[in-house]
């Protein structure tokens, strides 16, 4: 056990000269690293893997009084009642489409934003703009929903004041099914654009400056450099992020939909999680809620595995 930094430093220089001790040093270092990893592994084991046995309540009639193990088995009954619901396909469609549009429009924007930021001269300006665009990320969903309701109100909102001022007819944005996905995605892009760009900005700053200098000498313009140096430089990050996001395709944030929807927009807004909330948890229907959640996870797993397979075939990138 070396206690001071000075000793460690001298140990290392000494070790470098004698191969046997160096190997032992590395081993010790490896052991230390695993020690650091231990809490994370424990966390996943205790909080994510052990509770998984609880999903068996999806196949049981769970009663808290009997407990998870003693509740009676019912097989796929809860799944079947969900599949038989007249709203099953609508829920599936809405859940998929809301996430799909969020991804389609929400994913490229932070990349473009990061590329543009990268072109800005001067560190100060760049960091000011970056900080400003982070701010919406820290605004709670409840407040965002409140803002939308206030701004978009047909009688008192400023958006409709502009619409009618320009001679248009006031639109009840939040009570028209056709507008829901647009508003959901747009407010999401506004909220997450700056925050989502951080990882790309970091990736861009890691690109070797010599590459740009070489391109300059070859006479490449800004767009050329962006296309041939910046983008390929962050391509691994982009693909990883894309795959991770695809894995979340079937998980729509419950809270935001719940705050923004109403019975007039169920048609386009009602997603699996809100349906379960309305019908399950409120009346302690834990088994039904678990069955629907498990179904959702299975769909996600299939999607993620599929996209990963495609990505591996088509490019050299994959999650595993």
């Amino acid at each position: 056990m070396e206690t001071t930094g000075g000793k460690t430093g001298s140990g290392r220089t000494a070790a470098a000269h004698r191969p046997g001790e160096f190997r032992r040093y590395l081993k010790r270092r490896g052991f230390l690293l695993y020690l650091f990893f231990l809490p994370v592994a424990l966390y996943y084991l205790v909080f994510h893997y052990v509770p998984m046995y609880g999903v068996i309540i999806a196949f049981k009639d769970f009663s808290p009084f009997l407990g998870i193990l003693r509740s009676p088995w019912v097989g796929f009954e809860h799944f079947l009642t969900f599949f038989r619901s007249i709203y099953f396909f609508r829920l599936l469609r809405n859940t998929f489409l809301i996430s799909f549009y969020s991804l389609l429009f929400g994913f490229p924007v932070p990349i473009l934003f990061a590329l543009l930021l990268n072109e800005l001269p001067g560190r100060r300006l760049r960091s000011i703009i970056q900080s400003l665009t982070y701010v919406p990320h820290f605004v709670s969903t409840v407040v965002v929903a409140g803002l939308l309701y206030t701004f978009l109100s047909p009688s008192a909102g400023f958006v409709n004041a502009i619409v009618t001022g320009l001679g248009g007819k006031a639109v009840d944005f939040l009570r028209e099914p056709a507008w829901f996905r647009f508003l959901y995605v747009l407010s999401g892009v506004w909220q997450q654009m700056g925050w989502g760009s951080i990882i790309y900005v970091a990736g861009l700053s890691a690109i070797d400056v010599q590459l740009y200098e070489a391109a300059d000498m070859d006479g490449a313009g800004r767009l050329r450099k962006m296309w041939s140096i910046s983008l390929p430089g962050i391509l691994p990050t982009i693909v990883t992020m894309l795959l991770l996001n695809l894995g979340r395709l079937m998980t729509v944030g419950f809270e935001k939909v719940f705050l923004l929807y109403n019975s007039a927009t169920y048609e386009t807004a009602d997603v699996i999680s809100t349906y379960v909330y309305r019908s399950g948890i409120m009346e302690q229907q834990y088994s039904f809620a678990a069955a629907v959640g498990l179904f959702n996870s299975v769909v996600t797993l299939v999607l993620l595995t599929g996209f990963n397979w495609i990505s591996r075939r088509m490019s050299e990138f994959s999650l595993w």
């Binding site: 009639d61 009663s63 808290p64 009084f65 009997l66 407990g67 009642t81 619901s85 007249i86 709203y87 409140g146 309701y149 206030t150 109100s153 047909p154 009688s155 009840d172 939040l174 009570r175 929807y261 109403n262 019975s263 007039a264 169920y266 048609e267 009602d270 349906y275 309305r278 019908s279 948890i281 409120m282 009346e283 302690q284 229907q285 039904f288």
Partner: protein, 529 residues
């Protein structure tokens, strides 16, 4: 009108007090024998959180438990559970499943859960204990069949001490209208839907707020309570189902032909802008703004949370602007109906004694005390001289309680005196009245007279029935939500009404109704009718 009601109420209270006093007198002999006995220590589990003040006592140090200690020699060691209702419900499930239960469970979360756990063997069946040790509760159950009918489980046992309500507190929720604007436009208080229609049109066109703009919204808040005048059941404020009771049977609102008439009327009012076109998804803060900007003429809500609150705010800023209670308007058949009231039983409360307790008789005696007039005084008013004083034969809260700098009356009582929000008792009218301003008190009396008796009682289902109703209600609730708002807002034409009915049949609304009818028949049997 006002004079009449003012005369009637003391009489009602006197009769109620008389009943309670009589019952309390018989209960007292039992008390004395209890005090002589050994000190009793029991454990309890309660859903209670300390008040938002620095010196909030623990649950066991509330004034009511000091009295229980003196009178019954019972000391309770409480475990307090806090969190959202769903979280505490889960905690209760885990507690029951653990097999290590305390003697007393203060809140069974819902009466359905209470009797479920009772039938599964976690809680003691109380009917014999109540008959022997709870003279006040026994007498009350005998005198009020509705108290008994809603408390008895499908197997005929009683598994929890119910939280019951007197008539006045039941009518906490109702219709409001701006009296100053009725006066300004020379209109009498509307009594029927036709008169309400005329008044609403006048509100819309005659600029009662006098700002020169046509910004008045005759009816804001959810319009569903207006459908009740047709005699049917329809979801709405404090009314989650579409069921109603008529001619001794349970009926399902959407399957009733009058539902169509109600939808036709609401659609008309909506299209004529008599109903707020932004009622759907209206946030409470947006509604507050509309009310305080003098735009709302009438609405539905609780007399404490709406009427009294807004009147106080009005009077802070200016001299005018007063809501009064609007009697439930009579519909085309002359029916007045308010389905947003509470039933005689609070379905979210109730206390149970677990099978592991050895002190069931002593606990029952203590529980009974808080149903008695004396016990209710302790629970809802505290200690004479400290928390209340008698003025003209009625208890009035002292400034310590009524004018606390941060806590409202109910909060103060929950924090220091008695757990009025949940403890099994009979919610007394004189306490409820203390929460209102003058207009609120009058509104309560008016509401009590015009509520009708169409609201379906709290029904207790068997486990199999619960499962079936839950499965059926999942799609039905979404379906009715969509059509109901669609009809009112005109996005679903009334010409499609038959398609709506077909859908209801496909979703088995008839079976859903039959299940409720079965439970209702059990209720009738339990009331002894």
């Amino acid at each position: 009108m006002r004079g009449k009601s003012a005369l009637r109420i003391p009489a009602v209270i006197l009769i109620l007090l008389g009943c309670a006093a009589l019952a309390a007198a018989t209960g007292k002999q039992e008390d004395k024998t209890a005090v002589k006995g050994e000190p009793i220590h029991i454990t309890g589990w309660a859903n209670w959180a300390p008040g938002p003040v620095k010196d909030s006592p623990t649950f066991g140090n509330l004034y009511m438990f000091q009295v229980a200690r003196e009178k019954f020699n019972i000391t309770i060691d409480w475990t307090e559970a806090t969190g959202s209702t769903a979280e505490v419900t889960t905690q209760l499930g885990l507690l029951v499943a653990s097999g290590k239960m305390p003697d007393l469970i203060e809140r069974i979360m819902t009466t359905q859960i209470g009797q479920d756990y009772g039938r599964q063997g976690a809680f003691i069946a109380l009917e014999d204990l109540i008959a022997r040790n709870a003279p006040v509760l026994s007498a009350q159950m005998k005198a009020n069949p509705a108290y008994r009918g809603q408390t008895v489980a499908p197997d005929g046992h009683i598994y929890f001490f119910p939280r019951l309500l007197e008539d006045l507190p039941r009518n906490f929720n109702g219709f409001h209208i701006r009296q100053d604007w009725l006066d300004k436009l020379g209109l009498a208080m509307p009594q029927t839907m036709d008169e309400l229609y005329a008044a609403f049109k006048a509100f819309r066109d005659k600029d009662p707020n006098g700002n020169g703009k046509a910004d008045e919204i005759p009816w804001s808040s959810n319009p569903y309570p207006l459908a009740w005048a047709f005699g049917i059941g329809c979801r709405g404020s404090n009314n989650v189902t579409d069921f109603f009771v008529e001619d001794g049977r349970v009926k399902f609102g959407p399957l009733d032909p009058r539902y169509r008439d109600a939808m036709t009327l609401l659609a008309k009012w909506y299209s004529e802008k008599l109903i707020d076109n932004e009622y759907l998804g209206l946030k409470a803060s947006a509604f507050d703004t509309k009310v305080l900007q003098d735009q709302v003429d009438a609405c539905y809500g609780s007399y404490a949370g709406y009427l009294t609150k807004y009147n106080k705010l009005f009077l802070q800023d200016r001299k005018s602007g007063l809501f009064v209670g609007l009697p439930a308007p009579a519909g085309p058949a002359g029916i007045r109906s308010n389905l947003g009231i509470h039933m005689e039983l609070d379905p979210a409360c109730g206390a149970a004694i677990t099978v592991q307790s050895k002190q069931a008789a002593a606990i029952t005696r203590m529980m009974d005390y808080f149903y008695s007039d004396e016990g209710r005084r302790v629970l809802y008013f505290g200690k004479e001289g400290e928390h209340y004083t008698m003025q003209g034969g009625k208890p009035v809260y002292t400034d310590k309680v009524a004018k606390h700098e941060t806590l409202a009356i109910a909060q103060y009582l929950n924090t220091y005196v008695g757990y009025i929000s949940q403890w099994p008792s009979i919610v007394p009218g004189d306490h409820q009245l203390s929460l209102y301003d003058k207009e609120g008190k009058e509104a309560l009396y008016t509401a009590a007279k015009t509520a009708g008796n169409r609201k379906i009682p709290i029904l207790q289902f068997t486990t199999a029935e619960v499962k079936e109703t839950q499965t059926l209600s999942r799609d039905l609730n979404t379906y009715i939500d969509e059509w109901l708002d669609g009809f009112i807002r005109g996005t679903k034409p009334l010409g499609d009404y038959d398609a709506f009915l077909d859908g209801l049949k496909k979703l088995n609304a008839e079976r859903y109704t039959a299940l409720h009818q079965t439970a209702y028949e059990r209720y009738l049997k339990a009331t002894g009718m």
